[in-house]
């Protein structure tokens, strides 16, 4: 600038502002795209892990769930049937055997109730109630695959005499709340699988070896224990 001719020092301001406006508009689209997974991903996911209700069988009435995926059902006044929910068995796959406490021994709500033996791994599960073990379902313990048929009825694991039934049930989930909880579990599972397009099951069915195997080939028992709160 020699001071003898006109120089507009703000010549670029107009274009700059235009650029800024277009940058901000573009940013809106960019942000939207960044925060939502692609539609294609949603569709594939739905085909693998359908919405709760279609895939994890949730029974209508009377079943109370513990967040460690055990369930409890009142048989009569102070006797409660206890079992493993559908999600648990789909997670671990084919169970070889179940190690149960002896009849007459005590179980405590929120503490170890029994142990699943799958492959060479042992996976603890928590007991949903406090009480004394009255009976063990021998048939189930010996051939655990029957859980798949009627997980909340015939496939009860133990009968427990529970002195403070209503107090125990207060800490368990049922009905709509249980439904919401299963939604969260499904979300958790999906995000761990990370909507991984590599694990596509063509028939939409459940792998025999259990879903946990997809998350971690070697240390899948830790995945299961994480869900069962026994890690």
């Amino acid at each position: 600038m020699e001071g003898f001719t006109y120089v507009d020092i703000f010549a670029t301001k107009g274009p700059e502002y235009l650029l800024v406006i277009s940058a901000l508009l573009t940013f809106i689209f960019f942000w939207k795209m960044l925060s939502t997974p692609a539609k294609k991903v949603y569709e594939v996911v739905e085909s693998i892990v359908p919405a709760v209700g279609k895939w994890f069988r949730l029974p209508a009435e009377g079943i109370y769930f513990h967040q460690g995926h055990a369930w409890a059902k009142m048989e009569n006044e102070d006797v409660v049937n206890v079992g493993i929910d559908d999600f648990a068995q789909k997670l671990v796959g084919k169970i070889d055997s179940i190690e149960v406490p002896k009849v007459g021994s005590a179980v405590t709500q929120g503490e170890k109730g029994w142990t699943l033996k799958v492959d060479s791994k042992s996976i603890d599960m928590l007991s949903p109630v406090d009480g004394k073990v009255l009976a063990i379902n021998r048939k189930l313990v010996e051939s655990p695959e029957s859980i798949n048929e009627d997980p909340y009825g015939d496939a009860w694991l133990m009968k427990v005499q529970v002195p403070k039934v209503s107090a125990n049930l207060k800490n368990l989930l049922s009905g709509k709340v249980a439904g919401r909880w299963m939604e969260e579990v499904r979300e958790d599972l999906l995000s761990r699988m990370n909507y991984n397009l590599g694990t596509v099951y063509q028939d939409g069915g459940v792998p025999v070896n259990g879903i946990a195997r997809n998350l971690d080939q070697e240390k899948w028992d830790e995945v299961a224990k994480d869900f069962f709160l026994t890690l």
Binding site: T12, M33, A38
Partner: protein
Amino acid sequence: MKGKAAAVEIKNFKEFVAFILSELKPKGKLLTPFNVISAPIMLLGAVLMVIHLTGFAEVTHLSQEFPWGIWIGFNVMVGVAFAGGAYVLTFVVYVLRSEKYHPIIRATVLNGFLAYVFYAGALALDVGRPWNMVNVLVGNSFGVGSILFLVAWHFLLYMVAEFIEISPAFAEWLGWKRVRKFLCTLTLGAVIFGITLSTLHQSGLGALFMMAKGKIHPLWYSEYVPILFLVSSIFAGISLVIFEGSISHRVFKDKLSYEYRTSYKDMMVGLGKICAGAMFVYFFLKLVLLIHGGHWSLLNTPMGYWYLIEVVGLVAIPCFLFLQGARYKNLTLIRVATVLAMLGIVINRLNYSVIAYKWWIPFSQRYVPSLGEIVIALTFVFINIWAFRWIAMRMPIFEAPPAWAVEEDEREEEDFAFEPKLGVTMADGGKKMVERER
């Protein structure tokens, strides 16, 4: 959270020495491809460093026209940019308290710390009178008007902050329980300090170029270079976290904690999103500066094409790839984008220091790094990796901390959750005085 059983409790100096000696034994295979390639280079590099320091022979191709070479342009500038993952992630994990990236934070901070240590080493080799470097820290002759003065001090203070952040892992390794407890109380302070310092020295490295106006090509030179360097350090650092995480996922497979393994993909996708966002911003900043500088006619020159390669090919394209990778949760896309982004950073920093610097000088007279310089530059990179590996194999960086540390942390959390003095705000808004629970 599962933890390792408590390994050692060192109580006196003799035990300390014995422990260190036992830890010095190599763990894992000695003849891996990486070792076979890096070891001879490192040995040669060591020899060359001695030759350079004694002035026995001219190792570099530095000249009066080109006073700065790849030790500054690459080792220092690129190294510091790549170490930016530490300040970004510590912000996310400790200030924003997002648990998502917790599994990877220690590796990132460790890498940040080591990067600064070894690239400060590269600086010490590069300067002509390393013994006078102490004049920056002590004495009565401080060049306070110098941006390099600021950068130097920040480097040092930042190293201290990073060391404090990573020191609990060292304390766990040595079994020093009380020391660890004390160090953990310093973490948040060190993090805040570190983020502040990082903001200033990442942008400060850019500000170093401000007085080279006229010597750096107008498409790159701008008064806003510090901001560009700051924003690019965000995606440079996170790209390195993704890169290093992908490699560590395989190399340190047996050490990975449960949290790390289950959240690995989630973390990688999330990091890809951060990169996409930062690169989006950076791209538009570059566009604004292009218009502001009024030099768009220069785009039609050789340097202009080079500029387009850098900004379109190595910023806009990886930004798009990160975006798509995040949307489709596709780790391959994210990894490709990472490599491109990292290459872009290398080229960007080299542009400012040696390529777009005095761009008019014909190629035959330009600075091209000598083989010796390249070997030494690689040596610093390899030392960094070796040190990282040594520490990661022995200390709880990827694996879960020892059980006693986990218990200590859980107890700390409970203590914080209930404040007997102030009371606890209930869900309905009312207050309730609560006893301290154990």
